[in-house]
Amino acid sequence: MAATLLDLSRRGDTSAAPVAEMAAGVDGPLASWISAANAQNPTQLLTLATNSQQADGFLGWTTRARLSALDNGVPVELMSQWVLNLSTSIVTTHVGLASGHAPAGGLANHGLLSGGRGTTSSQVSLNRPYPLVAVIASSLTPGQEFFAFAFAQHTFSNRQAVALLIAKDGVSGLWHLGHTDMAGVLSAVAWSSSSARLTLADGFRLDSFSTTSCLLSRPAQWSWITPSIVYQVPLPPVQWLDPVALPQDLAIYTRTFGHLAYFKAADGSEWLMLGAARLMVRVLHPSS
């Protein structure tokens, strides 16, 4: 088992709108993958609510995941937005419950997601001829499905992103959604079934190791945001948050901001880094 890769890299000086062309290249593979993923997960439904070309003046993706989990008898719906404003270059990222989505709230046809977690602080360089190093990694292995799109404009820590991450949780079998903005700020949303509670993450559980060695650890899993209760009144009740394990083709590496760093592991597998958040994807597996 290894992920399927699609290279969307291009020069930045041969077109008036290389970023938009790159983004448009994501729409087709994303729609195809969603269609196939839905076919093999009939109790859940992924929807590409708005793609990269459906909102004037904006570019990006608003995705929705209806889960098989119920909250008060109603299917839980998660939503993720990664939207670039083509006039200000600002990237709006957000994850949360789809109930927080206002279709006419902003970002043109994307609408505006609130609640949950997001950023509006990072930017894409639209007016510089930076090359785009971009890759889609995906898998349709049942129970281990994921779709990730990551790109970088240069090696600075403010021009790399995993713009799309739709992945199956290996523990619950539910979809979850995540992304980073252009500055490595990570957001993810999932549903904790055993406590019927939304979970939000701002990072991965990280293994530490001696700084003189590289380390790849699996499963990649989210570090949940929990209340900083010292400053909160009244104190919130004790809570339990289920883990979410990313698919086997994804792992956490010791590098940050190392888009397309490459690692050959001792078991014969080979891994490619996506974006800024230490996430790696397996591109070669010795047994497949």
């Binding site: 890769l5 290279d7 699996r218 900083s228 009740p237 004790v238 289920d242 050959k264």
Partner: protein
């Protein structure tokens, strides 16, 4: 069932006593029972033995134990003893010590108030223990608890005890010791967790890992929650620094050394420190117990125990964990178990070796030519062969068009 959780409490705590009913000899009783059971496990090559206990004391103010962690070639001894009757504001971190040392360095005699002495130690750890006996200094008396967990299942045996005074004493020192086996360790691993509630004193949390027929210190991995997020996680283990050879050396698929799954570690900082708390699991799968105290500062760490509903009875003659004088709480904490962890994939002994690991800084032209993915984007023939071995999905030769540099794209 091979797992047992047992507990005792005293209204007056007395570490400086060798009476069979006091804490020291009850701890000895529990460890002797565990040792007898695991020594009988098939294929046991790391038998446990007791060299000293509270009854070994020849002085009046030093009490403790020396336990032998057996090994075919390098047995080690674990010694813990206090050095006086300090308590309350007299308590200091150095008033008691753990020592881990090769048996070959031990003088098995009546020195050190009957506890023998080491010519050298592998590790030594200050572990200020609260006494609170009637002869303590300054004079005051509080209660205390002894909580013992054991699992004698072959391959995942562990023994854990928690010592701690109860009551409102802010200078109390609590300790938990966990001796645990994992399939890929060469002897018993040692985890020592110490906590104090007095503001600013925080905690100490140490792991000594039995690998490569020796002991090295390790750090918790994945990193436990920190700061003010009041989060406790299950599934942590210990990882040492990179080793020259053997376990945890470079370029390995390395099985992890993980704590027994009943333990939860994280943060629990608050301006009103709590100790020996209890709360029901919010999802109804058992009860959480706090093994010690949470500091009042944001860098403190907290250790908890989850006993599933239906945990078997305590050892004969012991009480249940639930019968201890816990303080029930219902707020603040988030319990976040980890998904089961897989072995680590360790890279080269040095970063940027360009054989196992291409970092971003290899993006210059020579690095690109050597990169299994970037190299496919290069124009011309023969550039896709990769420099350091079998690149991902390579079939040899260029699969890029002869005109245009990065276009068109294609799947690899």
């Amino acid at each position: 069932m091979t797992f047992k959780a047992s507990a005792l409490s005293w209204s007056t705590w007395n570490w400086l006593s060798a009476a069979p009913t006091d804490v020291g000899m009850r701890l000895n009783e529990a460890f002797a029972s565990f040792a007898a059971q695991v020594n009988a496990n098939p294929g046991q090559s790391n038998p446990l033995a007791i060299l000293r206990n509270h009854a070994s004391a020849t002085g009046t103010s030093r009490y403790g134990y020396v336990w032998r962690l057996g090994h075919p070639s390098a047995p080690v001894l674990l010694r813990f003893s206090n050095s006086g009757n300090r308590q309350g504001y007299n308590l200091s971190s150095s008033s008691a010590q753990f020592q881990l040392a090769l048996e070959s360095t031990y003088s098995n005699d009546s020195s050190t108030d009957g506890y023998g002495s080491f010519s050298s130690t592998l590790f030594q750890l200050n572990a200020g223990l609260t006494h609170y006996g009637p002869d303590g200094s300054p004079s005051q008396s509080w209660g205390g608890v002894l909580l013992v967990l054991m699992d004698t299942t072959p391959g995942q045996e562990f023994f854990s005890y928690t010592l701690g005074p109860t009551g409102a004493e802010i200078y109390q020192g609590n300790q938990t010791l966990v001796l645990f086996r994992t399939p890929h360790s060469s002897n018993w691993n040692v985890h020592v967790f110490l906590s104090e509630v007095y503001g600013g004193q925080g905690y100490s949390d140490n792991g000594f890992l039995a690998i490569n027929d020796s002991y090295v210190s390790g750090f918790l991995s994945p990193a436990p929650p920190s700061g003010n997020n009041q989060q406790l996680v299950r599934g942590l283990g210990f990882t040492p620094a990179v080793q020259a050879t053997g376990s945890f050396s470079a370029n390995r698929l390395q099985p992890r050394i993980q704590l027994p799954s009943c333990f939860w570690l994280g943060t629990n900082a608050h301006t009103d420190p709590r100790r020996f708390s209890r709360t029901s699991s919010p999802i109804g799968n058992g009860t959480f117990y706090q093994l010690g105290a949470a500091g009042s500062v944001s860098f403190s760490r907290d250790l908890w125990l989850l006993l599933p509903t239906g945990t078997p009875a305590a050892m004969t003659g012991w009480g249940t964990v639930g019968a201890l004088p816990w303080t029930s709480i219902s707020d603040r904490l988030s319990f976040c178990p980890l998904a089961p962890l897989e072995p680590l994939l360790l890279g080269g002994s040095a970063q940027n070796d360009f054989v196992t690991d291409w970092p971003g800084l290899a993006a210059g032209a020579p690095g690109v030519a050597q990169h299994p993915f970037f190299s496919l984007q290069l124009q011309g023939s023969g550039s896709g062969s990769g420099g350091g071995g079998s690149g991902g999905g390579e079939t040899g030769g260029s699969r890029r068009p002869s005109t245009g540099v990065l276009w068109p794209r294609g799947a690899i």
